[in-house]
C-alpha cells in the first residue's frame, strides 16, 4: 500500500470520531464568554471566538505568527492571576507549537485553559488532512507534556464535562474538541493586530 493510500485509509477511519459541529460545540463549551480573557489562534478559531465574543474587547486573535496562541495565553495568565484566560486554537496551530504544552505544564497556572478545536484538517488552506487524522492524539501529548487536567470531547454527551474542566480553576486545563471538518462561523475579522492590542488593553487595564 502506498503512503498516500495508507493516509487516506487512516483519515477515513478517524472521520467517525469527528462528528461535532464547531459552530455549536465551541459556544457550548465556553458558556458565559464574558468570564474569560480570550486568546484565539489563527484561522478557524479566530472566527469561532470572534463570533462567540461578538468581536468583544476581551479577545485577542491571530491571523499569523502561527503557533503563538498558547504562549500568549501563558504570558497573559501569569500577568493576570485575577482573570481566567482561555486559549482556543486548532490542531494545525497546536502541532506547530507542541513544546509550548511542556512549557505551560511546568508553570501550571490555574487560571489558564486551552481548548483545541481538532477537525483533523488544515481548514484555512483547503482542508488538507492533518496529523490528527492520521493517529496523532493531542490530548495524549498534552498529558505526556505534564498537563494533568485533560479531556477529549467527541460527542454531545461529553460537552458538559468539557465545559466544567475549562472553568475548574485548580490547574491548567486542556480540552480537545473533536469536530467535523466544516467551516467556522462566517464573521468579519479584525485583522489589524495593533488595533486589537489597543482594544484589549484598554478594556482590561483602563476600565474603571
Amino acid at each position: 500500500m502506498s503512503t498516500n493510500s495508507r493516509a487516506s485509509e487512516a483519515a477515513k477511519a478517524a472521520a467517525s470520531r469527528f462528528v461535532l459541529d464547531r459552530c455549536t460545540a465551541v459556544p457550548a463549551l465556553i458558556g458565559r464568554q464574558e468570564d474569560f480573557l480570550h486568546v484565539a489562534g489563527l484561522a478557524g478559531t479566530m472566527y469561532d471566538i470572534t463570533a462567540v465574543t461578538n468581536d468583544g474587547p476581551n479577545c485577542y486573535g491571530l491571523a499569523g505568527a502561527m503557533g503563538a496562541a498558547c504562549m500568549i495565553g501563558l504570558g497573559l495568565a501569569l500577568a493576570r492571576p485575577d482573570k481566567r484566560v482561555l486559549v482556543t486554537t486548532g490542531d494545525g496551530e497546536l502541532l506547530m507549537s507542541l513544546g509550548s504544552l511542556a512549557t505551560i505544564a511546568v508553570m501550571n497556572p490555574p487560571n489558564l485553559s486551552i481548548l483545541c478545536v481538532d477537525n483533523g484538517h488544515y481548514g484555512e488552506t483547503g482542508y488538507q488532512v492533518s496529523h490528527t487524522s492520521l493517529g496523532v492524539d493531542l490530548e495524549a501529548i498534552a498529558q505526556g507534556s505534564g498537563i494533568k487536567l485533560t479531556r477529549t470531547v467527541s460527542s454531545e454527551a461529553e460537552i458538559a464535562e468539557g465545559a466544567r474542566i475549562l472553568r475548574q480553576g485548580n490547574a491548567t486545563a486542556f480540552v480537545l474538541l473533536r469536530a467535523k471538518p466544516t467551516d467556522p462561523p462566517k464573521v468579519k475579522l479584525n485583522l489589524d493586530g495593533a488595533v486589537c492590542r489597543e482594544i484589549f488593553r484598554n478594556g482590561l487595564l483602563h476600565r474603571a
Binding site: V39, A65, I72, L74, G99, T103, A194, C196
Partner: protein, 177 residues
Amino acid sequence: MEAKRDADPSGRWQNDLYDELRRHDVTQFAYVPDAGHSVLISRSLADPGAHSVRLTTEEEGVAMLAGADLGGRRGVLLMQSSGVGNCINMLSLIKGSRFPFLTLVSMRGEFGEGNPWQFAMGQAVEPVLNAMGVICLRAERPEDVIPTVRAAITMVFQSGQAVAVLLTQRLIGAKKF
C-alpha cells in the same frame, strides 16, 4: 542545585543587570537555559516576585511576552544568538501588533569563537533582527551593560519599540574548546 552551579562570583554586572530589570518592573523572565544568562536565570528562579519560565524553544518567549503586555506586565526574553533564528516568524507578532519587546542575546559566533558551527547564526543575528524590525544595541564592556539596558528599557516600555541588547562575546568571553 541549579543556582549553585550557576552562581558566578565574578558576575557583578550580571547581578546589577538583574536588579536593573526588576527596578523597571520586569516580572516575566523567559529563557532556554544558557550559560551566558546563568546569573539572571538563577536570580529569577530565586525571586518570588518574578515568573521564571523555561522554554523549549525561543519563539515561545516572543509570544509569551506579547501575552504579558496584553495583561499590562513587562517581560524579557533571554536567549543565545542561535535562538534568534528560531524567532523569525514569531517576530511578526511583535511588529504587526506593535508589542513592546525586550530581549537580551548572549552572542556566539563572533569575537574569538572556537566552534565553527556558531558562526552562521551568530553573524546573521543583526541582519535578521533588523529585517524583522528589532533594533540592536551592542554591549562590549562590563561598564556598557547597565547604560545600554537602561536605554533599551526606555525604548521598549516607554516608546513601544522592539529592542535586542547583544551581550557580545568580547563582554562575556569566548567559550573554551
